[in-house]
């Protein structure tokens, strides 16, 4: 086995791959070869490091040097300067890792220093396509422990002790779920992993599968042993090609080593895993719709009960857990449920991965202990809103969740706390909105999503979400009335009460929570016919002020030709007049604002 004096870790998560990290790797290999040091330096493609904003990320060990936004042309400098001569290329460092000429290692940067990684522990540390590296970091030790030292009841007891709750959204206690699933007897039982991550902006499941696929396989085998299942399915969307590929490689490697398959470690326990690809429908994240889809039918929810634990895949008892839930299991087994239950707060134990997105500096993936406040996550780790804008709200739980405002910033994050405030944990997406975001428009955006994704099986959801969206459209275009506001509210609660599955039941949440926290914005749209943030274009009006010098730049670019020099006279001698916009023809494209000379800036929006 070759000894390498330096390891270069390049992020191979979806974010960095799309900014060409594969090409970067090839280029670095070429440069290393050219200098003849390719046998001293190892290049590893890892899973997501989490700070996607700074991608492609390259980390060089043993120093732990953290390079960000590395371009292909930079490969040569990193190789010749750093790896050959030992001089860190300062201008390529992540901005925070160099302060007053002191270079910080990756684990000392604020973004990482505040995190606690359990589910993502191996992400960005190991090569996900190499089972040996997973084994080196205690991989499959939990499975060994379970198969050789524990009875199925002990396993369930340990999970119960950890107080782990489902990380997919609803937060059902995992230990209890396993217990229930283990009690149904049948000739065939299944374990299923829900990797149909559909929330816009959430990508923790994808990153886990890309970064440490073996954790999920190991946990599923443990779940199989605990509940008496012999077969596992991973339902993952085809839109995640890298995750699917790494899973396939991982399953193949695990089978070669006999960690999956017949008679694992000669203990008579057999477990096999199969991947099922989904077409990317949001509703298939709902457990019964997911089961339908696995069976080859159209992805539509079933009525519950019976719950999947009794009649799931092919009508057999099925245990269904989310990717992140599974990713916590191996460590709980190894370190004990008690260790896990010491992290976090009452009712919400352990850590949670959040995907930070929207108007935030450090877009990316963070894993923090439960009970951390929103402020710490958004400001200390996320870096706050970019360009000095003020924070307005954060949407948690994606299109099924709600928004939380400034006054909620000091709430400790936990399942029950968020529900109390009218939002939910969901899968952990956090979309941050700044002062420029219109809350009515945001509600409309999410409704647009659920409207598209409604499967159409039940009427309240199929028709209701459409009507709800139409109403929101009316507000955004300045046609909304007070009656519409009442109708919006009553319809929202109706859909919540009457839909068949969680998709419909939670679809009106963005409307209800924006109505609760930002009713004044709705009123501004109705009473003043005005959008306070200027997002709803239909409500904007472009006006030329007295500052106009009559240059005519705006009239030249106006596609509607609706700006004419018919205002007051500016110059008596030449009879030059100020320009005026004809509002009946204006399409609010904004071209005139751009054309107006910056020194003058005579055009404003109201």
């Amino acid at each position: 086995m070759q000894f390498y004096r330096a390891h270069v870790l390049i992020c191979g998560g979806t974010g960095c791959v799309s900014s060409k990290s594969h090409e970067l790797k090839a280029e670095m290999e070429k440069e290393l070869k050219a200098l003849g040091i390719d046998n001293e330096v190892q290049i590893v493609m890892t899973g997501c490091f989490g700070l996607c904003e700074a991608g492609p990320i390259v980390i060089v060990y043993p120093e732990g040097t953290f390079y960000s936004q590395v371009k292909i042309k930079d490969a040569k400098r990193i190789v010749t300067e750093h790896l050959y001569k030992g001089r860190i290329v300062k201008d390529l460092l992540y901005y925070e890792s160099i302060q007053q000429d002191k270079i910080k290692a990756v684990n000392e940067v604020d973004f990482y220093a505040k995190q606690k990684r359990i589910a993502l522990a191996n992400c960005g540390v190991i090569d996900p396509e190499n089972i040996d590296e997973y084994i080196a970091l205690d991989g499959y030790q939990a499975l060994i422990k379970v198969l050789t030292q524990m009875k199925p009841e002990d396993v369930i007891e340990e999970i119960k002790l950890s107080e782990l709750r489902g990380r997919g959204g609803a937060g059902f206690p995992t230990g209890l779920k396993w217990d229930i699933a283990s009690q149904y007897k049948d000739d065939m039982k299944y374990v299923c992993c829900n990797a149909d991550e559909g929330d816009p902006g959430a990508f923790m499941d994808r990153s886990i599968l890309e970064g440490t696929p073996h954790s999920v396989l190991e946990a599923m085998a443990i779940a199989g042993y605990a509940t008496g299942a012999k077969k596992g399915y991973i339902y993952v969307r085809a839109e995640y090609p890298i995750a699917v590929k790494r899973l396939q490689i991982a399953i193949k490697q695990a089978k070669e080593y006999g960690l999956l398959g017949e008679d694992i470690f000669d203990t008579n326990f057999s477990f096999d895993i199969e991947i099922r690809l989904g077409a990317g429908a949001f509703v298939c994240g709902e457990e019964t719709a997911l089961i339908e889809s696995i069976e080859g039918k159209r992805g539509m929810p079933r009525t519950k009960p019976p719950f999947p634990a009794e009649k799931g895949i092919w009508g057999k008892p099925t245990l269904l857990n989310n990717v992140e839930t599974f990713a916590n299991i191996p460590l709980i087994i190894l370190k004990g449920g008690e260790w896990f239950s010491k992290i976090g707060i009452e009712g919400s134990k352990g850590t949670k991965v959040f995907a930070l997105g929207g108007k935030i500096k450090n877009t990316g993936l963070v894993e923090v202990p439960m009970g951390m406040t929103l402020r710490e996550v958004i400001y200390d780790i996320g870096g706050g809103c970019p360009n000095g804008k003020e924070f307005k709200a954060v949407q948690t739980g994606g299109p099924s969740g709600g928004c939380l405002t400034k006054e909620h910033l000091d709430t400790p994050i936990g399942y029950d706390n968020l529900v109390k405030l009218g939002s939910m944990m969901g899968s952990g997406g956090m979309i941050i909105m700044d002062e420029d975001t219109c809350m009515v428009d945001i509600a409309r955006y999410f409704l647009d999503f659920t409207c598209e994704e409604s499967c159409g099986k039940c009427t309240p959801c199929r028709e209701g979400t459409k009507r709800l969206k139409e109403l929101l459209d009316r507000f955004c275009t300045g046609k909304g009335t007070f009656e519409d506001l009442d109708r919006l509210e009553s319809l929202a609660y109706y859909i919540q009460d009457n839909s068949l599955c969680n998709l419909g039941q939670s679809a009106p949440n963005p409307v209800i929570s924006t109505l609760t926290h930002f009713r004044d914005e709705y009123l501004a749209h109705v009473v003043d016919r005005r959008c306070p943030t200027g997002v709803c274009k239909a409500l904007l009006q472009y006006t030329i002020t007295d500052k106009c010098i009559g240059c005519g730049s705006c009239a030249k670019v106006c596609p509607q030709e609706c700006i004419e020099p018919v205002g007051k006279v500016i110059n008596e001698k030449t009879n030059r007049r100020a320009y005026v916009i004809d509002h009946t023809k204006c399409i609010k494209c904004g071209a005139c604002i751009e054309a107006c000379p910056p020194k003058v800036s005579a055009i404003i929006t109201q």
């Binding site: 086995m1 070759q2 000894f3 390498y4 004096r5 330096a6 390891h7 870790l9 001293e40 060990y61 043993p62 120093e63 732990g64 050959y84 001569k85 030992g86 001089r87 290692a105 684990n107 540390v125 190991i126 040996d132 590296e133 084994i135 080196a136 970091l137 205690d138 991989g139 499959y140 030790q141 060994i144 050789t148 070669e256 080593y257 006999g258 960690l259 470690f265 000669d266």
Partner: protein, 123 residues
Amino acid sequence: MKKSIADLAKIRQETLRKIQLRDKEDTNCRIVVGMGTCGISAGARPCLSAIVDEVHKRGLSNIQIVQTGCVGMCRLEPMFDVYVGNEKVTYVNMTPEKSRQVVVEHIVNKRVIQEYTIGEVEK
């Protein structure tokens, strides 16, 4: 091929040795090789390769081999520092052969080779 629990333990140990480098906290010893222009032209490169090779051959773990720039005593290059715990020893006028000796004597046998150190050479 199907692996037994013992096989797995073996894989674990071997691979861990390889990837331990990525754990910053877990280091016994650091070798810092001067790789300024002076160092490179005096032959620091072959010394570095020799150190890497020797560390690998001996199966040593938890050893960081890093480079640094010129420390100002260009006439004594190639030179490198060996840190064990808080103690630092500077070796000067190195050759690949001497470098190997240092790895064996200093790191494996825990004996500083006095005659190669800067204190001795500068006397």
